[in-house]
Subunit: 284 residues, 4 copies
């Protein structure tokens, strides 16, 4: 159903998410990218202070390498408990083509407390020359079921318009609860090309009753997340998606990116949702 939510811009607060770390690049791309629990949590605390109501997390090991180790996710969780106030924790289940299916969801199910939100990548993607992230339908169904059982809200990541039918399939199979929560992603390797025209078309393909945020990678992050805000959508920024603050200038922290987004939201006269308001909008 094509998107009718432009009026939401005038009426609905914007949920500001931050993705601090990601799994694709690390301190070689930006030494300020936080990888260890303490530095991640300190950055998140500053993000929360700046208005972020949700944090999307990947874990890294002591050597800054991506990991699905539950203990590392638990360490992140614990550090957040210690440093942050009330931010909504969102764990990735990404890593298709690298990690076994069971390992990808384990941190969602086995940490305490569980995250309130976790991602489901509902379609395959190419990364680099040889890797394909495999996300078969059967896996999406399984993840959705297990998240429902665990009381975790799925965040459906759609990287291109071709991922929409898998999203709709989950709805048709009654595996998701409305309002659905989706991330519209632009600019990945086999992702929708990052362009205003494409953000309009992409969003026009979302199922009804979907709350959506947009993210875009690299230099497209700033214009296209701003566009999402003024279209009535929500927004995710952070170093997972873009390690630069501006051309030629690395971000100092995730909070620096969040603060800019908050200032833009403020200039756009679209208030930022509190954690409580974000929970209510997403049915958490």
């Amino acid at each position: 159903m094509p998107y009718e939510g432009f009026e939401d811009y005038f009426q609905k607060k914007v949920i500001l998410s931050v993705a601090t770390t990601g799994g694709l690049h690390g301190k070689e791309a930006n030494p300020n990218l936080p990888t260890q629990p303490e530095e991640v949590a300190e950055d998140i605390a500053a993000c929360e202070e700046a208005g972020a109501s949700m944090v999307h997390l990947h874990a890294r090991d002591e050597n800054h390498e991506d990991t699905k180790d539950v203990a590392r996710f638990q360490a992140l969780r614990d550090a957040i408990e210690a440093h942050c106030d009330d931010i909504i924790v969102n764990f990735t289940t990404g890593g298709g083509g690298i990690y076994p299916r069971e390992e990808r969801i384990a941190p969602v199910l086995e940490t305490e407390p569980r995250p309130e939100v976790a991602t489901i990548d509902v379609g395959p993607m190419n990364f680099g020359q040889t890797r394909t992230a495999i996300n078969p339908r059967e896996m999406s169904e399984e993840y959705a079921e297990r998240m429902r059982d665990a009381g975790v809200k799925p965040e459906i990541e759609v990287f291109n318009q071709g991922h929409i039918p898998e999203f709709e399939h989950l709805i048709e199979e009654d595996l998701l609860d409305a309002p659905y929560w989706a991330t519209v992603i632009l600019g990945m390797q086999t992702g929708t090309p990052p362009h205003p025209r494409n953000l309009v078309n992409f969003v026009d393909n979302l199922p009804p009753e979907t709350e959506w945020q947009a993210l875009a990678v690299g230099r497209y992050q700033l214009p296209l997340t701003t566009m999402a805000m003024l279209m009535g959508g929500h927004v995710r920024v952070g170093m997972e998606d873009n390690v630069y603050y501006r051309k030629g200038e690395l971000a100092e922290s995730n909070a620096q990116l969040v603060r800019r987004t908050a200032r833009i939201a403020d200039e756009l006269d679209r208030p930022i949702a509190s954690t409580a308001e974000a929970r209510e909008m997403l049915g958490l």
Copy 2:
């Protein structure tokens, strides 16, 4: 030719125009709307200080009523000379359905110095219950010819996609010089409905070699002019288009609106063009 200018966002400075006064509403809508030469020029000076490189002007008489009186345009011109630095002056030729054709263009041709830019409304529009602004093709051709002879750059105002063929007609008749300068307008009575989807489509219909700015009326000004900036276009704000700063809060001045736009441009990391840079982009 569909719009390929998104890359301009990353490479081209943004021209910030202000339309201080307009002809449709006055101090009854907002007592801060400037109508008299001195107050207009003082507001413009503050706009220029804040980054505006062009001012679009309508004249008002001593009773604040819209007028095509050349003397009143000259008074505006003189006040600008006295108060402002180098801002590009742009005169309206609007007023179809109210003023005779000759009167509408007289201020453009008879003030000294002439404005550098003047508008041409290339199609008809409804206003209110009974008025139709009449802008026949013959008039657009005549205005373009006389502006070229007078060394004035036409600004083509397109209020809906149906005005595009008239714009193209002027190009085909060799009555305009590239780069063309167009204003894409959303939200008027018989104008394109103000929606992100429609701004994309509208711009996709512009002729090649067109520099464009967008304006949108009322509460749509803020989101859609921001969208224009992030699409690689230019932007016009001001009390002609919107008398509010935000919902329920009247603008204090045009400069207040310009300052917000400049702050957003700054946050979007898109530098504002100086008057010299604007002149170069527009071939003035």
Copy 3:
């Protein structure tokens, strides 16, 4: 509300309208263009035989000139009664900028029996070098009221996206009854440029509960009316919009154009609505 009717292609019959004559060009453009009641009615009878369920009519005088003379409309009506079976009669109220407002609607109200449908042009348009068709809001409101009183279904003609707000205004003022019946027009002088991209955007701007047909002028008639059919819309063809059957080959009759449309509908596996089915879809 953006268009969700693609599924209609699979489920809804297509209403095929024909506009035999128009008011802009005549036998100088194509000697087969019918102007006199007998030849018009004979052509319509062949159109009806070929599947047309509605005929849109302008009247011409004995010299083939456009006229608003009620007697000439009555003569058309009588000839149709004599020659045709059950086709829905639709009278133009066009002619803004040429005829007084009262004359334009007189044939709708004063012929017997009245037409079941009549057009309302809800916005202004340029024609040629000097003419502007004036269609102020007050007139649209008046026409809608008088048609409702007379039991005539309005057909809202939208020539560009800027005419949509006037259409919506009539709905908001409760002057139209759902389902609304609209004609989306592409390719006129101040009309939306005829392009597949624009037909999509145009239709995405229609109000909910609108049954729509598309027409496009000249060589754009064939591709864009076919596109309307496959989008789930309805279709109007005829010599008012296009006097050619194909490039360099004048149409022999309106029925020739209708027969092609019917063949395409058949190939597209979209059945043509009977007059009864068209009446039901339009709430006649």
Copy 4:
């Protein structure tokens, strides 16, 4: 670069391709789906007679199962030589997630004569509950290089907008020769949803100098391939994409589908390209 090719509708002949067999479904879906060389070639001959200038082929074994066996492709090739006149032969290299990379391209390189065209699937796709077709960038590059060396024209299959960047990557790496030949696919499981709005956006994302055809699966084949023709694109039909002729009625043959497409092209007044004309347009 957004699509400017609508004028091609008026100026360029349409290449009509047929995909007779595919690899996903077989005679259980439609007993008329040809699988054995003789029946395939006889169907192709009828397709060629009806206007098809290219045939896209998958091979089946004696038990009608999908196979990459070079001998079976050679048998198809030989049967085509025997039965057909001059149709352009196009071999699939699909089958990611099922066949090793080397097996998928072997028939292209090892049959005699080689096919003139062969597909490259440039991104991953989900099929059913568990299968992911893996098409990493490295494979696309390798296939493009080997096809160039072998004198085979690549047909880039893009299943959603996310596959476009991989297509562009091949161009940037100078692995493809203009004009590029692309198939825009709608309606697969992780493919762009089949909708007129999406066909417009999809095509707006194609690289410059691309000749494109569209295909759509199942009941969307007829409307969206017709739309491609009227947009100025080319068209592929056949039982690989759709086993029905119309709702509830299985296709009797591929030729039946081709004949309908040819009739529609004829009604749309867009001539069908001969094999020689198709070769010229594609630079074969």
